[in-house]
């Protein structure tokens, strides 16, 4: 038996791809509405956001840390954007740049405090989560910005490609390609990965690990702010509660996508396209569960089960590949 399995088949992404195809088949056969134009369009709008949130979490997981403040940060940035556009009348492109800068700044705070205190980013972002969300609620008095410029909100409801795809998805996929390029081919991207994989070795080879970690947190803030803008465009308004209390509604998709995608929680490994596939899988399952009509209250239960099942499967896959490689 000299049959050689291609390397791609052994990767996590391949397993995910199979799962995605498997679920698409199941849902298209078992439900009526799954392949309808409307449903695919709705899916593309949701997937776009989940990918972005997943990427925002992924770049912090790269450092071996976590970013609990993701949702709070994204919503704060989105509300800042709403304030810029509605109350201040700043033109849309400048507003968006300001929002992204604001998100990066909040991310910088996370990174700076984490690096300076040496405390796990879990605790730091747990604290900043309630600080950001609290300030946002105080400053906006929990009022939404509903009179955003029409060009901006129209963009969110635009339908492309024979009315199948939302432009938001194109932004997300584009971001994936850019991040892939950065992590794969640029100096700074390789340095970020090196710092996450082995901080001591990276420090000894002349990389400022602290600075790299701060960059990761800034990038996370940037992506979360982008996700906030996208959500604002999708809803057509900037609402303080759009990510739930303290931004908790973003937390599960944020962890699901990178973890399913094979990003190591201990840091040092990123899988941009794995994260994308993970986000697609989660959205598919979520959407399919609603269509199958399991009852909206059980959807959370199944999502939790799927996360558990996915990490266990991944563990098993790892176990078998390690065993096989030892045998051969």
């Amino acid at each position: 038996m000299n049959f050689k399995i291609p390397n791609f088949v052994k990767t996590n992404q391949f397993g995910l791809l199979c799962l995605v195809i498997f679920f698409i088949c199941i849902f298209s056969f078992s439900t009526d509405g799954f392949t309808s134009r409307f449903n695919i369009y709705a899916l593309s709008r949701v997937v776009a956001l989940d990918i972005m949130i997943g990427l925002a979490m992924m770049v912090v997981i790269l450092t071996g840390g976590l970013n609990l403040s993701l949702g709070a940060l994204g919503v704060s940035a989105a509300m800042f954007g709403g304030w810029c556009m509605e109350s201040m009348g700043i033109p849309i492109p400048i507003s968006i740049i300001l929002v992204l800068a604001f998100g990066s700044f909040l991310g910088w705070i996370n990174g700076f405090v984490t690096v300076r205190t040496g405390v796990h980013s879990f605790i730091v972002t747990l604290a900043t989560m309630s600080i950001y969300f609290g300030f946002m609620t105080l400053l906006t008095e929990a009022e939404a910005f509903r009179k955003l410029p029409e060009i901006f909100t129209d963009f969110g409801s635009l339908k492309l490609f024979n009315k199948y795809i939302s432009p938001l998805l194109i932004i997300s996929v584009l971001t994936c390609f850019i991040l892939y390029y950065v992590f794969k081919f640029t100096d700074i991207g390789r340095k970020l990965i090196a710092a996450g994989a082995n901080p001591d070795a990276a420090e000894l080879s002349g990389i400022s690990v602290d600075r790299m970690f701060i960059y990761c947190h800034m990038l996370s803030g940037f992506l979360a702010a982008l996700a906030g803008i996208m959500l604002t465009a999708r809803i057509g308004a900037a609402i303080p509660s759009m990510a739930g209390h303290l931004g908790f509604d973003w937390l599960l998709p944020a962890f699901l996508a990178p973890v399913l995608g094979g990003t190591l929680l201990s840091g040092g490994k990123v899988t941009v396209f794995g994260t994308m596939l993970g986000a697609i899988l989660v959205t598919l399952i979520n959407n399919g569960l609603y269509l199958i009509d399991v009852g909206e209250f059980w959807v959370r239960f199944f999502l939790g089960m799927i996360l558990l099942g996915a990490v266990l499967l991944d563990r098993a896959r790892e176990y078998f590949t390690v065993k096989n490689s030892i045998v051969s």
Binding site: L126, T128, G134, L252, L265, L312, R315
Partner: protein
Amino acid sequence: MSNLLKKDWFGLGLVIILGSILISFFKPAFISPFNLYVLMLSVSLMLVVAMSQMIIIAIGQMNLSVGAIGGLVAISFTGLMEVYSMSILPAMLIGLLIGLACGFINGYITVKTGISAFIITLATLYIFKGMNLGITEAQPFYEIPDAVKFFGNAKILGPIPYLVIIPIVITILMWILMNRTSLGRYMLAYGNNVQSSELIGISSTKIVIYAHVISGLLAAIGGMLVVCRLQLGTPNIGDSWLLPSFAAPVIGGAILAGGKVDVIATAFGVILVSIISQALVIFKIDPFFVQIFLGFMILLAVFINRYREYREERRTKVFSYE
């Protein structure tokens, strides 16, 4: 005296006493019997939740599902009494069993797969919360036996509510567990250094499962205490536990890498957080500030711990040169 100064809980105790004197100087209403009663209620509920998280921090992990377990137990406890008209004691026992089972699931999967407890408990958080919502369909249970209502409302003496008894007993038991039993010391050893604790013969399976089971039990007790307090079982019990559950142990000086927790300091952390929240209410400050304040307090605690470590390091360096 110098030994006392080194304890985590000493500084906290000082802050609590000075803070209380200062607040009651400006607002005498702070030490009114009613206010003390409310304060003690909030302390006793949070104490149990904080202990539930603290024991997981001791083994160097985190338990995101504390609130979800509390909520699931709360609605099972009330649901059994309302729908199946069960009497209090069996309903309570089943509630505890559910907490135990939830904790066991967390611990077993974590230790058997070696996957980070963060991910496992994130998954079980959604599973438990989903079961909670699936069962209740987001509707609360209102029919609570009078004995439960009485326990949640009545006072033993002056402003002291009955509800404080269980949390105080739990705190004492936890202190004994962490300081006077081999199981507690093994947990700390495991949290400090997994490899070396395994090398000296500590079974990691046993330690992790025990810690998660105790955490689940405490979360269950917390959930049932909230039912007594609120006089109803709503599905959103436990939703807001995450931040306070970490705040108290961290303010109490627990290191999140594991291996160091202080039961008394954690209890003082709970008291401090409650006093500050209460003071903010008395001074008529926007409730959203309470949240911001809690966030800043965690950061402050983190900075102070870091500073103390830094000073300790410098001192030991000086000695080694001599």
